[in-house]
């Protein structure tokens, strides 16, 4: 971790893979790049085996482009689709057992704050609805109760996409899936309200239809987690395979869901609001 680890030792440039040299020369490390410049710099995430047109892959792409300090970040994931792309990025990635991401992140964050007391080291958990709200539910909730200072991002595809389409706690009521032929009998878990009640200081729900907004939410969640406490983002990332969405219609579907149950929602405590106002004021002064 840290910029020194990223740099290539002098004399070794021509022996390093082209992708890595590009990453150091034209990448995000040590620079303040805007997410709207995507496509003009070498991105942290590389080619990955996620399905064509997967909008979870898109969310992950924007997530890495929006990281405030990629050289000082550790990402945690668990079994599920997201890990396929998360593990292909130039940011340290820890693959937990199914459901224990938030427990691992708690220990990691505490260890980092002891080892580097004068530096901000960000820990981000990115896992699916199964990992956080079904199997890892207890550990997720308890990390929030304990007010651990890291960010939890749930990429919600509303199904167990990797294992053939079983219903998850986040699948909508009544939905018929390949491994749930009689239809789901219970409501979708209200994760956003749970997070608010459990003690998160910043909570957001978002559908990936606007890269600038996604980047803003991710940056805010990470910055708030550094100072105040747990933060949570609930992102809709459709599974076009299990929900049979033609790949061309994936963005249209995200826009549609944004109008229904994935309306943009952002909630934060008063002290966090004050902190952001201060930061934004400073940024404006620097610009002008």
């Amino acid at each position: 971790m840290g910029l020194e680890y990223v740099k290539i030792s002098p004399g070794f440039e021509k022996y390093m893979p082209r992708d890595y040299v590009d990453l150091v020369e034209y990448g995000q490390f040590g620079k303040e790049l805007d997410v709207m410049q995507m496509g003009q710099f070498k991105e942290l995430v590389e080619e990955h085996p996620m399905c064509a047109g997967c909008y979870m892959a898109y969310f992950i792409r924007v997530f890495y482009a929006a990281l405030p300090k990629p050289e000082d970040t550790i990402v945690l994931g668990t079994a599920g689709c997201a890990r396929l792309a998360l593990s292909q990025a130039a940011v340290p990635f820890i693959y937990g057992n199914y459901g224990d991401t938030n427990a691992v992140a708690s220990g990691l964050k505490r260890a980092l704050s002891i080892r580097f007391p004068d530096k901000d080291k960000d820990v981000v958990v990115m896992a699916g609805d199964g990992g956080l709200m079904d199997i890892g539910f207890g550990m997720t909730m308890h990390s929030w109760f304990r007010r651990e200072k890291f960010t939890t991002i749930m990429v919600d595809n509303e199904v167990y996409g990797n294992t053939g389409g079983q219903e998850s706690g986040m699948s909508p009521k009544g939905i018929q899936l390949k491994m749930a032929p009689t239809g789901k009998k219970f409501d979708k878990i209200n994760a956003v309200e749970l997070a608010q009640t459990a003690g998160c200081v910043y909570v957001a729900r978002i559908s990936p239809t606007n890269p600038k907004r996604i980047a803003k939410v991710i940056r805010r969640a990470i910055l708030a987690a550094r100072k105040f406490g747990p933060t949570f983002i609930h992102a809709y990332t459709s599974c076009n395979i299990e929900y049979s969405i033609p790949t061309r219609e994936v963005l249209a579907d995200a826009r549609q869901r944004e109008k229904k149950d994935f309306k943009f929602y952002e909630w934060m405590t008063d002290e966090v609001k004050e902190y952001f106002n201060e930061i934004e004021k400073k940024a404006k002064e620097v610009k002008s």
Partner: protein
């Protein structure tokens, strides 16, 4: 043979909009060339999902991207 997106440079350069680049799910697959003001596709990375076509043709009505068949090694 596989299916990839192709950008019509001349048409694309008229708009300077970059929207397809911002909505592509693959990293560094659709890129933006500042010198020519156009988007360009890194064919090896394209999985043929057509989201860029949806953005360019259905949403913006600009019709600058088309899906084409290419052979391995093209």
């Amino acid at each position: 043979m596989y299916f990839v997106a192709e950008v019509h440079d001349k048409e694309c350069a008229k708009y300077n909009c970059k929207q397809c680049v911002l909505f592509c799910p693959e990293p560094n697959c659709l890129n933006y060339k500042e010198s020519g003001h156009t988007a360009w596709v890194w064919y090896d990375r394209c999985k043929g999902c057509e989201i860029c076509v949806y953005v360019c043709s259905d949403l913006l009505k600009r019709n600058c991207i088309e899906m084409v068949m290419v052979k391995t090694g093209d």
